[in-house]
């Protein structure tokens, strides 16, 4: 039995497989066939004019095949990693390399990509010539119009050489993943958080302590710092007084994404938005706002995946939030945790912002459960406004649609009665009015089931 050496011999000829990389086109067999016919006719009839007819064809074949390409063209697909946001420009480059001894007449390049990447002429084949020993690059740019993990590629190419007589086998690259982050709609909330916690932050707490917000002036007591003495009041009253301040605290914000159902049509950043689009963009905006204030933000998923992002603060957490949001998909599930179960994993002092379209009865139940468990909950309605009844042949769709809307409004009303403020997402200032209500609730005396 002969064994194959593990180390290939030095004179290992790797050119042999490359021979198969180029195959003749129909043009080559045509040229040879017509040449042959003309030459035979020339001989049979003893006529030089048939030879003259064959000369250009014979010369083109001889010229073309005098230098045959051997290796397959090289192909590379790349993109500039600029962390694009929806609507931002994305650039892709396809590079075809000719490592052969003869130039290619042309190379036909194609690239597949996600429909949300609107590369200019990205859906058309690109044809370029490639001289020998060089690489030709085709650049395509265009906006990425929707958030998510988009795919760029695979790219494929074939080359044609020898005056169209030989064509290479197709070479294909792998696909690239392109992260497109959601556009954060302008959002600002001026109202105080219901309960601030922690040691640092920008929220006024209701507790006296080291901070910048003046709470009042009181008499000096042991333990007060000397730099806090209000000399003007002390001189007037002839007793030492200090300026009392409220401590600055941070807060925890939990953004809960209801992914049980999706609705609406997603048309990208400049078109209509689906429920998921609104939820993701609103989450990014809310997280950006509170993280900018120094609060801790965590994210939770209400769906089959039940993902959770641990609470943290700062710029790094903002990038983590954006990354986390890229993997948000509608994930309906038959059995979902109730509000009480969810509340167990949420801090009692946290502000819970639930982004929900309220299309599933379990979502309303979850909200009620969270409130019953004593959490400060705000429901942000992510169902797009201006929905119209679906057109059907029965004629009952309009009535059914109105009934569904009434039922939904009834659910929202019941939630409000349970103390869950429901507000439609409208960008900047969306949560101000409801935050005021939640703050008032938080400052009220607690009885009974509040933990």
């Amino acid at each position: 039995m002969q064994l194959r050496p593990a180390d290939p011999p030095r004179d290992f000829d790797d050119a042999a497989p490359d021979e198969d990389q180029w195959i003749p086109t129909t043009a080559l067999s045509r040229a040879v066939f017509v040449c042959g016919v003309l030459l035979i006719l020339a001989v049979l009839f003893g006529r030089a004019d048939f030879v003259v007819l064959a000369v250009p064809l014979a010369l083109s074949v001889a010229f073309g095949l005098s230098r045959r390409p051997r290796g397959a063209p090289g192909l590379r697909l790349s993109t500039v990693e600029t962390l694009p946001v929806e609507g931002g420009e994305l650039g892709a480059t396809i590079e075809v390399e000719n490592r052969d001894i003869t130039g290619y007449d042309l190379a036909v390049l194609r690239v597949q990509h996600s429909p949300w990447l609107k590369l200019a002429d990205g859906d058309r084949p690109q044809v370029t010539s490639v001289a020998r020993g060089v690489a030709a690059a085709v650049e395509m740019t265009g906006p990425a119009i929707r958030w998510g993990r988009q795919t760029l590629g695979p790219a494929s190419a074939y080359a044609v050489a020898c005056d169209g007589l030989l064509i290479s086998r197709a070479v294909v690259t792998g696909a690239l993943g392109v992260r497109v982050y959601p556009m954060t709609e302008p959002f600002a909330a001026d109202e105080a958080m219901p309960r601030a916690a922690g040691l640092v932050g920008q929220h006024r707490s209701r507790r006296a302590g080291e901070g910048g917000e003046l709470a009042g002036v009181r008499q000096f007591a042991p333990g007060d710092r000397l730099r806090r003495i209000d000399w003007r009041v002390s001189l007037r009253t002839e007793r030492l007084h200090v300026a009392a301040t409220l401590s600055d605290r941070d807060a925890e914000v939990v953004i809960l994404l209801d992914l049980l159902a999706d609705a609406g049509r997603s048309e990208g950043v400049h078109g209509t938005a689906s429920v998921l689009d609104r939820a993701v963009r609103a989450s990014a905006a809310i997280a950006e706002h509170y993280l900018h204030l120094g609060d801790r933000v965590s994210l939770l998923e209400y769906g089959s995946m039940a993902r959770k992002l641990r609470p943290a603060s700062g710029r790094r957490q903002y990038l983590t939030v954006l990354e986390w949001l890229l993997d948000a998909y509608p994930s309906p599930t038959a059995q979902e945790r109730g509000g009480a179960q969810l509340a167990a994993s949420i801090s009692a002092d946290a502000l819970v912002v639930v982004l929900t379209p309220l299309l599933d009865a379990r979502s309303a139940g979850m909200l009620a459960g969270l409130v019953r468990a004593g959490r400060f909950v705000i429901a942000v309605d992510t169902l797009p406004a201006g929905l119209i009844a679906p057109v059907t042949s029965s004629g009952w769709s309009e009535v059914a649609f109105r009934l569904w809307k009434l039922e939904r409004e009834n659910t929202i009303g019941q939630l409000r009665e349970h103390g869950v403020p429901v507000v439609a997402w409208a960008g900047a200032g969306s949560l101000d009015s409801v935050l005021r209500d939640v703050s008032r609730l938080a400052s009220a005396p607690k009885v009974g089931a509040y933990r």
Binding site: V34, A48, L59
Partner: protein, 180 residues
């Protein structure tokens, strides 16, 4: 179909128009002068549209063989006088039909084509035609004595030479690889 037509880009369209024009020119220049009636011209015009629509098909071969048949009929059948420029015009038309069809066949109808590709092809075709003109002149000047009715050994030698040239071209092309 309408969507496909909307996606058509200029360069592939120009190449297919060239296939039509050269196909028409090849048949027109090869056909007997007596047959060039308007009806015949309409016929070869319609015929030339087919390779323009399908430049990668075997119909281009059919067109070229048809042009050769026309030439045989014109020169041997009707006794039309063979002139040097006329022969060379037909030769150029045949070559350009072949070459433009070869290029049009590999250009997708909706592709964005770099102008360098067309320029490179045009330069190469021009070079082939210029060299062919020189070689053809040489052939006409050096081989005028070959006439029908030559002896059998001369005929066999000629056929052997023709077969040899075809064999060399086939070997260079390695046509058997196509079966792979």
């Amino acid at each position: 179909m309408i969507d496909k037509l909307r996606r058509v880009t200029p360069a592939p369209l120009i190449m297919r128009a060239l296939v039509f024009a050269t196909g028409f020119a090849a048949l027109w220049s090869a056909a007997p002068g007596a047959a060039l009636s308007p009806r015949f011209l309409f016929f070869i015009g319609v015929l030339s549209l087919v390779p323009a629509f399908a430049p990668g098909s075997r119909f281009v071969d059919v067109m070229m063989v048809l042009a050769v048949i026309f030439w045989v009929v014109a020169t041997l059948g009707t006794g039309q006088t063979v002139t040097g420029p006329g022969t060379f015009t037909t030769a150029c038309a045949l070559y350009l039909l072949h070459s433009s069809a070869a290029l049009a066949a590999v250009l997708p109808y909706d592709s964005i084509v770099d102008s360098a590709v067309i320029l490179r092809w045009a330069a190469r075709a021009a070079l082939v035609i210029v060299v062919s003109a020189a070689v053809s002149t040489l052939i006409v000047l050096t081989v005028p004595s070959v006439t029908p009715g030559a002896s059998v050994p001369v005929l066999l030698v000629g056929l052997g030479a023709a077969a040899g040239i075809v064999a060399v071209l086939s070997w260079a092309a390695r046509l058997k690889k196509r079966e792979l």
